[in-house]
């Protein structure tokens, strides 16, 4: 279809105007507001004790969830691709896709239903092990939303590489471990890295689920996302909300850039 020049310009304008109004301008606005008073002010705003505590909590949650996902995600991919067929395989696949379809608030309610005071594992709370309104609950929420990423990135790579190299390693005398470390792992390294980056991005951005299972106390149980909300909503520290949001934006966009670079290297190794 060849559009006439006016038609083409018209369509282009509509598309770009929509993108500008919806994405570019608002993002630009936040950056401008956050950085306008100067870098010193910005820095002070993002290094308050509450902000630093929030940053640390976010990192702690990532430090728990990312290694778990890397290890268990890889094992899951191996089981799905190399494990042959087994009963419940389709069900497992379905559960792996679920986190994409569930609202974050629903995740929070589900966690409360399981680990909360009246829940199935509520007995733990009585025994003094606090899950809800404590870090373990927030870690579980983060684990829920980041579950699929490593598995779904490693799985197709494993499938494509095939297991002939692993068979060859076996005939050459390698044990299962040696084969895994020297042959399997290197062959999936791009998929694994990509999945890890996606896990990090999703993990640090989680809000709804974490909000419900957190006691939301500044300096204690607020992640960076909860801090942004609290600053705007609870204490009307709009500037503080902008600066914290900018930090989060920076981290997310850094991850985005890393994945883009990774994609380019994958295509031209």
């Amino acid at each position: 279809m060849r559009l006439s020049l006016p038609a083409r310009l018209g369509v282009r304008t509509v598309a770009l105007a929509y993108l500008a109004v919806l994405v570019a301008l608002p993002v630009g606005m936040v950056l401008q507001r956050a950085l306008a008073p100067g870098l010193a002010t910005f820095w002070a705003s993002v290094t308050t004790p509450a902000a630093i505590a929030a940053f640390n909590l976010t990192l702690t949650l990532l430090a728990i969830v990312v290694p778990l996902n890397v290890i268990l995600g890889t094992v899951t991919a191996l089981v799905l691709v190399r494990g042959g067929s087994f009963r419940g395989k389709a069900l497992l696949q379905a559960f792996l896709d679920l986190p994409f379809a569930v609202s974050p608030v629903v995740i929070g309610v589900a966690l409360i239903a399981l680990w909360g005071a009246g829940g199935w594992f509520g007995g733990l709370a009585d025994a003094g092990v606090r899950v809800i309104f404590a870090t373990p609950g927030m870690a579980l929420a983060t684990a829920f939303v980041t579950l699929p990423f490593v598995v779904r990135e490693v799985e197709p790579v494993l499938r494509e590489v095939g297991d002939e190299q692993e068979q060859a390693a076996a005939t050459l005398g390698a044990t299962g471990w040696q084969t895994f470390w020297r042959i399997t792992l290197p062959s999936i390294r791009w998929g694994l890295t990509y999945g890890t980056l996606l896990t990090v991005a999703r993990g640090l951005g989680e809000y709804g689920a974490v909000l419900l299972v957190s006691s939301n106390l500044p300096g204690v149980s607020q992640t960076l996302t909860l801090l942004v909300h609290a600053r705007y909503h609870d204490v009307a520290n709009t500037y503080g909300a902008y600066t914290a949001a900018t930090v989060l934006m920076g981290l997310s966009l850094a991850t985005l850039v890393a994945t883009a670079l990774l994609n380019r290297t994958r295509r031209h190794p």
């Binding site: 369509v11 301008l25 507001r33 494990g83 379809a101 909360g116 951005g205 996302t225 909300h229 902008y242």
Partner: protein, 255 residues
């Protein structure tokens, strides 16, 4: 195998068990309690708002998303790569940041004097933001794969642009548009973080179901929250299942 056991344990504890507990909690007051919770005026109002706005946003993004995909694939202009990168931002940003970002331009401190906070329009804008990538990224690859010869053949046979669009291009991209729109809808009905600040959470006006559920937890009605949650899940799953069936049906039709 040990590995399988570990995997099942992990997926079970993190995903399956919480959802099972949710389902159980939702009927803790019996099936009647479930129905009562879901049909409470607040719940119905929130569901109505949610569905109305989600359908609206899905349709808006279906059209504009397709237009954007078209421009990104078929057009060329300086800065196209930048525009393409913009599409990924809603995917990458934390939802609460999206809320702040939109508030900066459309909230009480809007430099352009546009105040969409506490309005349905504001919620719409937030939902449009987070669901933008779904249709675009779904249609883009299909459009890119589309060979131009079919369209050129149609033109040589005398078809106008509109006819070509209707009879050649649209049937080819329709599955991608439908699937992208469905995913956008499923995401929109569960959206929380991005509407949290701009919407204002006004019951009956801008309160969406996710906010209603959060409120139920706050007032100490976890059973009610669970019931409405299950309802939301069922809607989302139905949409996604329908999509999958549609996709399979269309594949068979083509084959």
């Amino acid at each position: 195998m040990l590995a399988l056991g570990v995997v099942l344990l992990w997926v079970g504890v993190v995903v399956a068990l919480p959802l099972a507990a949710l389902a159980a909690l939702s009927v803790a007051d019996g099936p009647l309690g479930f129905v009562r919770a879901v049909t409470a005026p607040g719940s119905l109002a929130a569901l109505g708002t949610t569905l109305l706005l989600s359908v609206a946003v899905a349709l808006v993004n279906a059209v504009l998303g397709t237009v954007i995909a078209w421009v990104l694939v078929r057009d060329s202009f300086p800065g196209k790569r930048f525009a393409d990168a913009l599409i990924d931002i809603p995917f990458a940003l934390p939802t609460i940041v999206a809320s702040i970002v939109l508030l900066a331009l459309y909230g009480p401190e809007s430099p352009a004097g546009i105040h969409l906070n506490n309005t349905r329009a504001g919620v719409l804008v937030a939902l449009a933001f987070v669901t933008l990538p779904f249709v675009v990224r779904s249609v883009q690859p299909v459009l890119a794969e589309l060979e131009l010869d079919a369209e050129e053949a149609a033109a040589s046979l005398g078809a106008s642009n509109w006819t070509t669009l209707r009879l050649i291009v649209w049937p080819a991209i329709r599955p991608a548009v439908i699937s992208g729109t469905g995913l956008a809808f499923a995401r929109a009905i569960g959206e929380f973080g991005s509407v949290a600040l701009i919407g204002g959470n006004l019951p009956g006006v801008t309160q969406v179901t996710s906010q209603y559920i959060a409120q139920r937890i706050e007032v100490g009605d976890p059973t009610g929250a669970a019931a409405v949650s299950v309802t939301l899940l069922v809607i989302a799953f139905s949409v996604l299942a329908t999509l999958r069936l549609l996709a399979r049906g269309q594949r068979r039709a083509v084959a």
